[in-house]
Amino acid sequence: MRLLALAIGAAGLLLWPWAAPRYFVFLASLIVVNAIVAIGLNLLSGYTNQLSFGHAGFLAVGAYTAAIVATRSPGVPVVVALLAAALVTAAVGLLLGVPCLRLEGLYLAMATLAFGFVVVEAILNLDGLTRGNDGLRVPAARLGPWVLATDTARYYLVLAVGAVMVWAAGNLARTRTGRALLALRESEVAAQASGIHVARYKTLAFAISALYTGVAGGLFAFVVGFLSPDAFDVFLSVDFVAMIILGGLGSVPGSVAGAAVLTVLNDSLAGFQNYRPLIFGAILIASMLFMPGGIASAVRRLRTRWAGHPPMAPGSRRGLE
């Protein structure tokens, strides 16, 4: 049953470019990119209860790294550009993680918020590398003999990378690191008592989260084809937070759902950007009030009710599924 649903879903995703108009192929690529960011952010927030308002900054680091690699060494395979984006962003995440460990709650939010602004300033001032305010044109992604110049080709690239990232996130909980992070989430004190190095694992969570966002940034660069610092503002960071809150903290399918809903909503509001923060804010508040576990837990509750089991007690959370 579950396998069949998975197969149908996969087939749908693979056939999408043939069934949908061109613009929706582009939009689907954006959804996958945002979903990867949401998963990355959820690894941080879902596991270690740290909320970041600086993920637009990580996205920018990844996007610019991939774009600069692709521009400076023409013909480089897209995989190399994405790996570079992942590693550079993870390194930045590690560096940010170290000082941020001392901060919690509101103070952490402030530090990550500041990080987002610092990245934009850095892009503006490193204009020899980033072309500053003028913006950077991203060359088409290349994969061996192929140039991924169409929406469909880029969609498959994004989809393939997205699938790997989803699979990895789903399996993280089975690794030693994943279990350590889970223990941390349940209780820092208990985790420390059982020999988990709290600081080290929290930093690691930051780095992994940044790595995900960096990969998404690299994909973003190739999908959109043009980068400028204006795109990576604080509202984008807030959008990412909204995605995981709407989707469900600590849930991989929830991250994907949240990203899909908000990306489509954002697109349909293209004529009224002024009202966007208002509508997103309302959604955020409404989902916290009426759907505290996000889409993921709402679906879970519906499913258990439908199957005749008593719904799970509120507050009982399991690992990332």
Binding site: F226, S228, D230, G271, Q273
Partner: protein, 387 residues
């Protein structure tokens, strides 16, 4: 499994079949659909809103009420990019692939416009009269430039200031982006033709409003003329700073895009005596027939909106499109529109001097000199031209 396979094959075959040849996208028997990505939020929101919904649409309202273009009404769709290039890319794709517009009209700002250039050219879609002046739009088959390009503005300014006014020492305060830099390059080149050089240049990062350090350095170089290549916020700040430090012997000259009412309002009494290149006749007081008609249409359709040069520029853009589409005839295609616009010679808009477009696709080459007297721009010269 078999069903899945059948689905795959069905998908592949429908995808592989080319779409049947259709009439021109965005043109039906009853309608022409135009669109644009513009700023309705962010730093240029006022400009964008005025140019499109109060300018372009104003003219089309009048055209539609008069029976349309060859019997077709014009409809417009706009999306907001907030001056962000990426949003402009996504919006432009949406306009083309979802809404199916015929052409892009009057988008705004160098970075957003430049970000969409390649995509529009690849898809052979006319990009009409973008509200930006970087020469990067010149010499492209599918692009018709909007405002007088910066290198032409620079030539008019330098030739007038060195020739008629006999100034010899120039300095520049410019915004550190495509707008500022393309102006700076042009100013240096034009001064070079007269055997002159800029005695000092200082830059302002976008979004920064404090310019006191730059102004102090510029004052030390003792120029006769200081060019301001800025946006209204920092431009007004520079004027106030000059007043504060009592630097009265310098002539402040503002670039074409900066010479607007907003900048004057922000600077208050510090704007007195400022000179500049105005690209548009005064929308409130000019008695040119096209400007009068613009004010009349505004009174008829949008009586609450004050006249301003941004809606006037959009009004002019729609007028030029109408002229091109009328010349292209009832069978309107993108290719046909491009040829028709190229054929425009000596078109009387009643707003600007006669417009001749020709193969270089530049729709505007003019400006005139103004000086601020009691808070308003006073015209000092007739139309200056840089051919």
């Amino acid at each position: 499994m078999r069903v899945l396979l059948a689905l795959v094959i069905a998908g592949l075959t429908t995808g592989a079949t080319p779409l049947p040849a259709r009439a021109q996208q965005g043109v039906t028997d009853a309608e022409i659909l135009l669109g644009g990505s513009n700023s309705f939020s962010g730093p240029l929101a006022f400009t964008g809103e005025q140019a499109t919904r109060f300018g372009v649409d104003l003219y089309f309202k009048a055209v539609n009420d008069g029976g349309g273009i060859h019997g077709r009404k014009v409809r417009t769709v706009y999306y907001d990019d907030g001056y962000k290039p990426q949003e402009a890319v996504a919006n432009t794709r949406k306009l083309l692939e979802q809404d199916g517009v015929f052409a892009i009209i009057a988008p705004q700002g160098t970075p957003p416009v430049v970000a969409t250039l390649e995509y529009l050219e690849e898809n052979r879609v006319p990009l009409l009269f973008p509200f930006q002046g970087s020469p990067i739009t010149r010499g492209r088959k599918w692009v018709f430039s909007g405002m007088t390009l910066y290198d032409r503005q620079s030539r008019m300014m330098i030739d007038y200031l060195v020739g008629a006014r006999k100034f010899g020492k120039f300095a520049t305060l410019y915004q550190d982006d495509e707008y500022g830099k393309s102006f700076l390059t042009a100013l240096e080149k034009d001064l070079g033709r007269h055997g002159l050089k800029l005695v000092a240049t200082e830059s302002v990062k976008r979004g920064v409003t404090d310019v006191s350090a730059q102004m102090a350095k510029l004052q030390a170089a003792r120029p006769d003329v200081l060019f301001l290549v800025l946006t209204p916020g920092p431009g007004a700040q520079a004027l106030r700073e000059r007043q504060k430090i009592g630097w009265s012997e310098v002539v402040m000259v503002s670039s074409g895009p900066l010479t607007d009412e907003r900048y004057l309002a922000l600077a208050g009494d510090a704007s007195e005596g400022v000179e500049g290149l105005s690209l548009w006749p005064d929308p409130l007081t000019s008695d040119r027939p096209g400007v009068k008609r613009y004010r009349d249409d505004l009174k008829t359709y949008l009586p609450k909106n004050e006249p301003n040069r941004y809606s006037l520029s959009g009004y002019f853009a729609a007028m030029l499109f109408t002229e091109g589409a009328t010349r292209a005839g009832r069978r309107l295609t993108r290719e046909g529109l491009v040829v028709a616009l190229e054929g425009i010679r000596g078109f009387e808009s009643g707003i600007l001097p006669p417009v001749t477009i020709g193969p270089d696709h530049e729709t505007q080459r003019q400006g005139f000199w103004v000086r601020v007297e009691r808070g308003r721009f006073k015209q000092l010269t007739d139309w200056l031209r840089a051919e």
